[in-house]
Amino acid sequence: MTTYVILLPGDEDAWAQTPAAEKQQGYAVHEQFANALAARGHAIVGGAELQHSRTARTLRQGVVSDGPYAEVAEQLTGFYLVQSDDLDDLVDCCRILAGVETTIEIRPTVDHSGTAESTDPSQKGPRS
């Protein structure tokens, strides 16, 4: 089993202006996605919807500033953590989110399960 992170970048301002009823439809698509993952042997082990990037704070060299770390057109709006044995099928499941998520990045995590501190994201430091 590999744990994958599914990053959901998008147009946060457009989402903020979306009427509540339409948002509910969006959440329903995410529910379909979650159901499909469960039915097809993938396990969601974490995830969250993020507040707008204007609420972010960035810590750089000990200095705190308001806003996200990078000014990019698509800001991260949410993510899932999914355990899976089948990346291709996981990507297929992600197609369910078409229409509500224009861009989806799927990236494997580094396995630290053999170490004492399996929740440490940089046990071996960041890799490039």
């Binding site: 969250a48 507040q51 750089r60 899932y80 224009t102 990236r107 490039s128």
Partner: protein, 115 residues
Amino acid sequence: MKYLVLIAYRPGGWEEASDAQRAEWMDDHNRFHATVGSNIVAGEALAGPDAATTLRHKDGQPTLTDGPFAETAEMIGGFYVLDAPDLDTVVEWCRILPKGYSLEIRPCISMDMSA
């Protein structure tokens, strides 16, 4: 309240670092774990951006490409999800992490998708 801490780093930084520098960064992470303890809800180190797959939809048509969704000077190398009473607490905790990172701290909307 849950907060996402995105760990952004300059690609190549780890490879170029000395053993002593790496050991110092490891110590920083260990101190972070000792301090934050069970308030760490999740955390993962990500494989490099070249291992990423990006799925985009244009006019309903899916397109798969290799690589991350955005090419930026600093890349996301990992993250933590932390449970904290407020943002200031998270900022103080994050000061323990290696100084070479850029850390973006963002509140989560309280609708947990985990099982």
